[in-house]
């Protein structure tokens, strides 16, 4: 392993709207090496990958490829330098054929006088598919492939780079296994090993055992920094986990002292709740003032479940009861009418109308509260908005400021004000602290405790297990669309992360 590094990143930093996503990160990749990159959500893994792929440009720091400085302005340039990426969310266009996808943007190589030679293109695509041992016709429409096959096509697309550059390749794999079956993962890994003579790999995954299995070396990231780096053979899953989280559970960080036993009264109940293709036979009971955390990886069905509870994805079987009445929610207005509120993960898309000021955003879900004889009362509405801004300590020059100009934490408080003004009894927190800095996170935790004390029930899908465990009264663990475990999370009896992980993967 004394070999010289092929790809070098030195002191790379990147900030978004005041949040330091990467803080002086240095990483090196040697020829033919598989480097694992692990860290919690928000640790900076994806930002790092996007910098390598030419999607983002770093604020500072240097990139060296084969000893030469690397300046990437676009993914296309990264491609020409022999850097390919297999994205977590698949980037293939489903309405094009496999061959068209593999050579998207590169058709020039196969065309004369502006006319594409399809036989040449298909033959070349066939060669790429052979590299990943995928025996499909390159003329197949991508939409007809299985998910795993598409992942392989992505890999083939990345490998097609080697014919365009003399260089050794660097292939970035961003969570490629999160939705694959074991058998498909085996195939992928086998291909990765077989291709090491032509390429180096950077492998990002939240499945730590897989990272250890395939990687030569592992980097651990936390809060935008590399906190550890070691050969994969010299570490293990619990150690990686400890490094990722980086601190023992702080009871007061999640305001555990304020956690009270919820009331007996049930406000929501699911019995054998099923949504075809997403999750099945989910049972849970939500009590008044309870925080129910749902843990699970991408594809576990927890995201779909939360969307069912707010009317985005109606369930197909089973029973959902809200406030004692059986319901099937087919649109958000029905959920809102039942006193359910939704704090979305996509705060800037589904949470707020960014181009409007704070006032109309706060009353958007409950305009009736400021109406009298069929007319909106502007003065009353403004006063109400001001009282929420004061109560939740939204930092803004005035309630007329556009939500666009607020920081993430303050935006989240406006979203919360909206549902508090609507007097929602059940709040669905979908990744409520995503993209927030530590101070804003703590304010959100405080608010959640206050809501819980006031008898508001909360369903929580959090960014990290730590958050899920710290905040919840009880926890539901899901895997592959089914509930695999339930935990009581009363302070003092809170489960450990490894207990949950065991049921998640």
């Amino acid at each position: 392993m004394a070999e010289k590094a092929f790809l070098n990143l030195t002191d790379v930093s990147k900030a978004f709207a005041g949040v330091q996503a990467l803080d002086q990160v240095s990483i090196e990749v040697r020829p033919g090496e598989v480097v694992g990159l692990v860290g919690e959500n928000g640790a900076g893994k994806s930002t790092l990958m996007r910098i390598l792929a030419g999607v983002y440009r770093p604020d500072s720091g240097t990139l060296l490829l084969d000893g030469k400085p690397l300046l990437l302005h676009s993914p296309r340039e990264a491609n020409f330098q022999g850097i390919g990426i297999v994205f977590q969310e698949q980037s293939l266009l489903p309405n094009l054929t496999v061959a068209e996808n593999i050579y998207l943007g590169q058709e020039k190589e196969f065309s004369r006088w502006g006319v594409i030679s399809w036989p040449a293109l298909h033959a070349a695509a066939k060669r790429q598919l052979e590299k990943v041992q995928l025996p499909i016709d390159p003329a197949t429409r991508t939409a007809h492939l299985s998910f795993a096959e598409r992942q392989m096509v992505e890999l083939a697309k990345a490998l097609a780079l080697e014919e365009r550059t003399e260089r050794h390749l660097v292939i970035l794999l961003d969570e490629p296994t999160s939705v694959l079956e074991q058998r498909e993962i085996d195939i992928l890994f086998e291909r990765v090993r077989a291709l090491r003579n032509r390429a180096s790999f950077v492998f990002v995954s939240h499945r730590l055992d897989e990272v250890l299995h395939i990687s030569d070396r592992v980097y651990v990231m936390k809060d935008g920094k590399v906190v550890a780096q070691m050969p994969a053979s010299e570490t293990n899953v619990p150690e990686l986990h400890r490094l990722m989280v980086g601190r023992e559970l702080h009871a007061e960080y999640y305001r555990e002292a304020r956690q009270r036993e919820p009331a007996e009264k049930l406000v929501m109940r699911a019995e054998s709740l099923t949504a075809e293709g997403a999750y099945r036979n989910v049972d849970f009971a939500l009590r008044q003032g309870e925080i129910l955390g749902i843990a699970g990886v991408i594809g576990s069905g927890r995201e779909a479940l939360t969307r069912t509870l707010f009317g985005f994805l109606p369930h197909s079987a089973g029973k959902l009861t809200v406030a004692g009445k059986p319901v099937r929610l087919t649109s958000p207005d029905q959920a809102a009418a039942l006193g359910i509120g939704y704090i979305p993960r996509e705060r800037r898309v589904e949470g707020l109308v960014l181009a409007l000021p704070i006032v109309p955003n706060i009353t958007l879900a409950s305009l009736a509260t400021v109406m009298k004889r069929g007319a909106i009362q502007g003065a009353k509405e403004r006063k109400l908005a001001e009282s929420w801004v004061e109560k939740l300590r939204v930092r803004t020059p005035s309630v007329d400021a556009l939500c666009l100009n607020l920081s993430g934490g303050n935006q989240q408080k406006v979203v919360l004000s909206k549902w508090m003004n609507a007097r929602s009894k059940i709040l669905i927190f979908d990744h409520p602290t995503r993209g927030l800095d530590v101070g804003a996170k703590e304010e959100v935790y405080d608010l959640m405790r206050t809501l819980s004390e006031e008898g508001i029930s909360i369903i929580l899908t959090a960014d990290t297990l730590e958050e899920t465990i710290g905040l919840s009264h009880s926890i539901l663990v899901m895997r592959d669309g089914e509930v695999t475990a339930r935990f009581d999370a009363t302070p003092g009896k809170k489960p450990a992360q490894v207990d949950l992980i065991r049921h998640m993967v």
Partner: protein, 315 residues
């Protein structure tokens, strides 16, 4: 706060353009600034404004209604055909037709999730044919008895033509509903951020249909007024009005992408369009060439008012 200052200037721009145009024409032809001449100009704007006013809400939603001129013409035919036999009932019948057609367009738009420009383009084609059949492909002039019943359109009140009062009423109701009703509030919210509005429990589809219904009804009202002023109904009466009407909405400052604007702004926009037309006649632009100017004005207005930072892809 510097940004807000700039946005305020931008918001006032249409009004400044209007004042500038009036002054320019006033200097070139001093008679234009006389009371009588200004009243005539405003009266001539009224119908264009009412036509544009209805579609303002639709544009605020981020959609578009291309059927307004067809509804307007059809309404004039209904008035001309029905007035002799049914008397005053012809007016509510015409407006009801607009309301129903607008509602249907809205329903097809939201139920079948068809882009609004396609639905209303289809509606427009359908209405043009219907109006041609209904009128036997010709203009129907309204006889003396019928004209007596049109006195409310052609008459004056307190020294101003009645069409101005109708337009003022539409403006008032429009501004009021934008400021004080959920419909007005949600129209802006949907245009500015439909996913968030939907995820706040707003019945987005319902308000979209209402906007198209309002657009249809006001387009029909414009047709009724036109029939009154022209003394006839014709299946091609409003053919040349679609472009100026949409230009009026956009020139006034309602964003084509939705989420900003209002009927007050459309009033300013309609006046600008009328004055540009007067100016063109004054400098001798051929009447048939005027659509060229409106087309250019529309594209320029969109280019100037659009906030490109918020738009990723233009289709």
């Amino acid at each position: 706060m510097k940004k807000n200052y700039r946005e305020q200037i931008r918001g006032l721009a249409p009004l400044l353009v209007l004042v500038g145009l009036v002054l320019v024409i006033g200097v070139l032809r001093p008679g234009f600034l006389s009371w009588d001449s200004l009243v005539v100009t405003v009266a001539n704007t009224a119908i264009l404004f009412i036509l544009a006013a209805g579609s303002t809400f639709v544009v605020m939603l981020g959609s578009i209604d291309l059927s307004i001129q067809a509804i307007c013409s059809f309404a004039s035919v209904i008035v001309a055909v029905m007035l002799p036999g049914y008397g005053y009932a012809a007016f509510p019948a015409a407006v009801a037709m607009g309301l129903v057609i607008g509602t249907l367009s809205g329903l097809f738009h939201v139920w079948l999730r068809i882009p609004s420009f396609i639905v209303t383009l289809a509606t427009s084609g359908l209405l043009v044919s219907a109006a041609l059949l209904f009128s036997h492909e010709r203009a129907i002039s309204i006889d003396e008895a019928g004209r007596a019943r049109l006195a409310w359109v052609t008459g004056d009140f307190l020294g101003l033509p009645n069409v101005i009062w109708v337009a003022a009423l539409v403006t008032g109701l429009g501004i009021w509903s934008q400021k004080y009703t959920p419909f007005g509030r949600y129209s802006i919210a949907i245009g500015a951020g439909e996913p968030a509005t939907w995820a706040s429990g707003v019945r987005v589809n319902r308000y979209k249909v209402i906007a198209f219904a309002v657009s249809g009804a006001l387009a029909a009202l414009a047709g009724v007024l036109m029939a009154g002023r022209e003394g006839s109904g014709s299946p091609t009466l409003a053919d040349q009005l679609l472009l100026p009407a949409i230009a009026a909405v956009i020139v006034g400052g309602t964003a084509i992408t939705g989420g900003a604007g209002g009927i007050g702004r459309t009033a300013v926009g309609a006046l600008i369009i009328t004055i540009v037309r007067v100016g063109m006649t004054f400098i001798g632009v051929d009447i048939f060439a005027q659509q060229i100017v409106f087309g250019v004005v529309l594209v320029l207005a969109v280019a100037l008012t659009i906030d490109r930072t918020k738009i990723v892809i233009v289709k």
